[in-house]
Assembly symmetry: C2
Homo-oligomer: 479 residues x 2
């Protein structure tokens, strides 16, 4: 149902871009919050995006850009305030070009990450960004949120894999900067500013991406370690031996395995009951078989007491099984039902101390289970709290906010971040206000005002609402 | 000699920061232009930097930040207009911390790149950024200009090696963001915005840097190739075999070798007279000797006709000799005396065509010598023009501007950049105005105005002077 203001705006849009609104446009993955309904526009090309942005500027209607909708911090939904226009990139899915000899691919923003990876693969190349949600996540959203995933240790986050962008600025101007260049020092880094801005400074409509030649020898192992500190020493040892060849280094807590055994018992566990284990993947040069390299590492590490045992995958299927286990930890978490989740990063040398101290502090607050796992090589942990056995999520409603504050305080005190890879969205604007560097926040607000003086681009995301903007609701959970 | 305005400003500065002005503060490396004299202030800490910036804002005096002074595009000198305050980072040279287990180092901006590299080395780590001028270049300047160098192929430019910054904004506020984190998605990427802004948005006073464990097996070879196209196919082959292990891939023209033979005859040449050659460095894992890997590559490449012959360094000394040759090409160029130099980048698949077409177009303009060499793996060439034998630089004065325009036009037409790694400074603002994307330029100006409304930060650099700012002189040469 359109209101009169919607009618006026709809009349100004390019023909054929409006789509019927469905609940899917108003959802976020954890279904804890629903967005405001409004117009849904799905442009077919960058000129239509620009026309929509200009029309919204004229009508003073906020724009919520939407890719695959897989973001976890409510950047893709506007729960309160005036109805926005939802700008879906779902029709801009073209592969604009692929240059295998340059290791470059240009994709439109609505292409899924999986489709980008498949296109690279078909040309004998690898686009290394890899996330659990890659079948749905749009590449434009991955860039807008600077997505991380399991290969950031080796290849960096999405930002490091982007050579150039095409984007529509809040005034409707189009930045044409889809360069296929590794080096270009001609002025301010507008690309990296729009990457990670979560749609608040403009809409990324296409991206030029860096590909790599897949490593000839790939190996995967799961290793039981005495604890997080030993895991980090093992990482350092592995990096020293592998010369940049460590692709992934994931920490898995005993609690992760216990949850998997409880709710996904069909998943095979190579190290059942291990209190701490690590999944390592290496990608090595011609002439160096991965199994031999991993055996060398394992021997060295066991001698030093860094590894208690382990399994080196003997086939591609076994390697895939190890990854299957790792990738189903979030699903097991969902089935158990978290009290609160935290996407944190820490300086590597602070991790072991944080895990120890946070565990002790939480134990003093009440009976609960902690599942601490994730991208240890990046210092990025998912530190999630669950009800004690026999209790339910609702039992902790009164505690939830305090628990998250406690975790975030301990993280920030050790020089860490309260959002390592998920972004700020609308869920964590309060945290950013509280813990962000004041001078940096002031500069962010100055940039926002300079580029989007009307405040129409994804209003209320990243920067908390100021006068004239509606504050988003405090949702029922912290992700 | 101070003028009355200087006196008033000087009185507002922190005690003891003023330094006597010497010609060194007004020079750029090629000595084609001299900066305006003004006050020179050398603060000892970030608070003094902030106090100086606030005093200059109050007095409306422009600030020219200065690191090692090695920039090649006049970003460090203000040749015209009101006398600036030269803010030298020469006293801020402390190593604030080094965490080998995290692969992180925090340095003050005035520390030289060599000192940073040495500090990492002493801890068994490598800071990979490597430039000919690293003994003088300050790390703050390297970041402010997003320096490139010979290892960007593997490790990225300076931007990719920086985890966090401390910086003074144009209003005197201090951004404290010296994070030791690989992942931190909490808002706009102010770090990457200040990196490469050449001091026009603020002054970087300290940086948190990413180190790596040095690869266990390092190998260097010089290989003669049939031409640039074969060199690029060789690069692709090498990257496929080495799994990210190619550290450097430098193109050397026959003209480079001829100049070296002419003016630096003591430098040993392993492939004398080779019309095109490549210097490749690899850094490989434990268990894979570099010489064996290079021999495997060489055999494969010779079979495919990509390499005509070559020498694999048999010792560290021989490897150092090969690099010695490569690093003295700029010195040979200086001794010969260029008509014009160009720091360009191109999509890799455009390079061979550009070299062919540009050579033909220049031949039609007159008799001259072309020295085309550089970081081929990054698509970054130094394409420099020299007088024909028996003629001198001055003979080409009338042609110079047209020649550079021709080169830059051909580069831009192929999707390339007129400044790959040196930046814009004051030398290339005209090129940026001409070839920069208009929407991107408008956004850059909006950001500049938002963060530096008084226009005091390195006035006239990057963005050409607008009303109220003095235009820098068109110097006698393009670098």
């Amino acid at each position: 149902m359109l209101n009169p203001a919607d009618d006026a705006l709809a009349a100004r849009l390019p023909k054929g871009v409006l789509r019927p609104i469905t609940p899917a446009y108003l959802e976020e993955p954890r279904r804890r919050l629903t967005g405001q309904a409004g117009l849904v526009a799905a442009p077919r090309n960058v000129d239509e995006v620009a026309a929509i942005v200009r029309a919204c500027a004229k009508a003073r209607v906020g724009i919520v850009p939407r890719g695959g909708g897989t973001g976890l911090v409510w950047g893709q939904i506007l729960p309160q305030g005036p109805a926005p226009l939802i700008l879906s990139l779902e029709r801009m899915t073209a592969l604009r070009g692929l240059w295998p000899e340059e290791n470059v691919l240009i994709a439109e923003a609505g292409m899924t990450l999986q489709a980008v990876r498949d296109a690279a693969d078909a040309a004998g190349r690898l686009f290394p960004l890899s996330l659990a949600s890659q079948g749905t996540a749009a590449i434009g959203g991955c860039l807008s949120t600077n997505a991380g995933g399991v290969t950031a240790l080796r290849y960096g986050t999405a930002r490091a894999l982007c050579l150039g962008i095409e984007a529509v600025l809040p005034d409707g101007r189009v930045v044409h900067d889809l360069k296929r260049l590794r080096k270009d020092n001609t002025g301010y880094d507008l690309r990296d500013l729009l990457i990670g801005a979560e749609g608040t400074l403009g809409i990324i409509t296409a991206v030029s991406l860096r590909l790599v030649v897949p490593p000839p020898n790939i190996g995967v192992a799961m290793l039981q370690v005495p604890g997080p500190e030993a895991a980090l020493t093992l990482l350092s040892l592995a990096e020293g031996r592998m010369a940049g060849g460590v692709t992934a280094f994931e920490l898995i807590a005993g609690q992760s395995l216990a949850f998997l055994a409880e709710v996904l018992p069909d998943i095979r566990q190579p190290l059942p009951g291990a209190p701490w284990s690590v999944l390592i993947e290496v990608g090595l040069p011609e002439g160096l078989p991965a199994a031999a390299a991993l055996e060398g590492l394992l021997g060295d590490a066991m001698e030093r007491g860094l590894v208690l045992g382990g399994v080196i995958a003997q086939s591609g299927q076994q390697a895939a099984d190890f990854w299957h286990l790792r990738e189903h930890i979030p699903e097991a978490n969902r089935l158990i039902g978290a009290i609160a989740s935290h996407d944190i990063s820490l300086p590597l040398s602070e991790i072991a101390g944080f895990i120890r101290d946070a565990g002790a502090a939480l134990a003093a607050r009440g009976d609960m289970r902690v599942n601490c796992f994730g991208h240890l090589g990046d210092g990025n942990l998912h530190y999630n709290l669950f009800p004690a056995r026999g209790r339910v999520r609702g039992d902790y409603d009164a505690l939830r906010g305090d628990l998250s504050d406690l975790i975030h305080e301990m993280v920030v005190a050790r020089g860490g971040s309260f959002s390592a890879e998920h972004g700020v969205g609308r869920l964590k604007t309060g945290e950013l206000d509280r813990w962000g560097d004041p001078a940096r926040l002031a500069a962010m607000r100055a940039i926002k005002t300079a580029l989007d003086p009307l405040g129409i681009m994804n209003p209320g995301a990243v920067l908390s609402a100021t006068a004239g903007q509606a504050a988003p609701a405090d949702g029922p959970d912290r992700s």
